[in-house]
Symmetry: C2
Subunit: 218 residues, 2 copies
């Protein structure tokens, strides 16, 4: 397909596509003449992914490029590429958390939790530091941040990860699977947070509402 | 305590505290003279909360003010204040998601999910639209977004919400509890996302690693 069709099918403007091409977020099309190139479904899929990372994931162009490069590095095995993509993904979200200089206590709590759950080998991973920072914030503000308050979150995350990796495993190994890793990691985060907030609203209605109604109508 | 001590105890600079006071994020201290005021533990706790919302939650000053105002509105019952705070919280995170113009299909899927789980009364809440937007993104990118793929996320969120509200219920009703609602909603989001990513890394290591090691050393 031509550039104009790629734009129409993806809903991304021609100017933005040209920008992504210049930035290397999108591989070049097959050149037909000095001013025309042919694009295919790989371009379309990649374009949608880039758009999602930037719009839904709130990632910068530079960070999106890092994530895609990591996911495509052939010198790494699949688990390492997953880790590299995760690490790059975290880059946009971590700085404020990291800047809080997590204390030793938060780190000890997280280490104890990971040992207990059996994830001790993940110590030092990017997401590990994200967690240490988050626990340190809770602690500094005087909110509960001990094992008893973290355990239910680990219990919620564990079956989700098994489910997510199962979904990812259904994609053919290679670029499509790595795209799925990045896309499903980022795109399902708002799903999880939104459902937690909906559940909060529901439980709050049952617990704190001024009304008397125990049983909802209908 | 004086302004200098409030700064020392909170780790927030005097200039920033003065800015928060001007913006109304922090109630004024008790005036001792034209140039001096006395602050107490309420100021210290509020200052830490504001700092956390801005640094950890990535919220703007204006949005932080909205959240705190909603949480303090005496004309609302507790459940309504919770909702108002949630709604204000969402303001900073929703725009990109909302801009994607969720389709009818995503909405129908979400409605079906909420009916199934028993949360149908939460239709139309701010977090509902956050979820519809997230599901629409998955759908548009061609990633699984049907009931079967959303159900595990609802199953993970449900017990967490019961746990979270139990923690919140331990705070004395009034401002401290509403601060806890806001703080624990925001501060535990990175905890949950980090644990999901750590769990991903762990399961990915078991599933995709090039290595043979079934049993980890030690």
């Amino acid at each position: 397909m031509r550039l104009s069709e790629l734009s129409a099918q993806s809903g991304v403007s021609i100017a933005t596509i040209k920008f992504y091409l210049r930035e290397g977020l999108l591989p070049p099309g097959e050149r037909l003449s000095a001013s025309r190139a042919e694009y295919n479904d790989v371009h379309l899929r990649r374009l949608r992914l880039v758009r999602a990372l930037i719009q839904v994931g709130g990632m910068s162009v530079a960070r999106t490029k890092d994530v895609l490069s990591a996911a495509e590095d052939d010198s790494l095995d699949q688990h390492q590429r997953f880790g590299a993509a995760q690490s790059a993904l975290l880059g946009d979200q971590g700085p404020e958390v990291a800047a809080l200089q997590p204390g030793e206590k938060a780190r000890a709590t997280v280490d104890e939790l990971l040992e207990e759950v059996g994830w001790g080998e993940c110590r030092g991973y990017p997401a590990y530091w994200m967690l240490v920072g988050a626990v340190a914030s809770l602690e500094r503000l005087g909110y509960p941040s001990d094992l008893a308050h973290l355990r239910p979150y680990a219990s919620a995350a564990a079956p989700l990860a098994v489910f997510d990796l199962g979904v990812i495993g259904e994609y053919p190994p290679g670029e499509a699977q790595l795209e799925a890793v990045v896309a499903l990691t980022v795109l399902n985060e708002p799903v999880l947070l939104a459902l937690r907030r909906i559940a909060h609203a529901y439980v709050s209605g049952r617990t704190f509402s001024a009304g008397t109604g125990e049983g909802a109508a209908g």
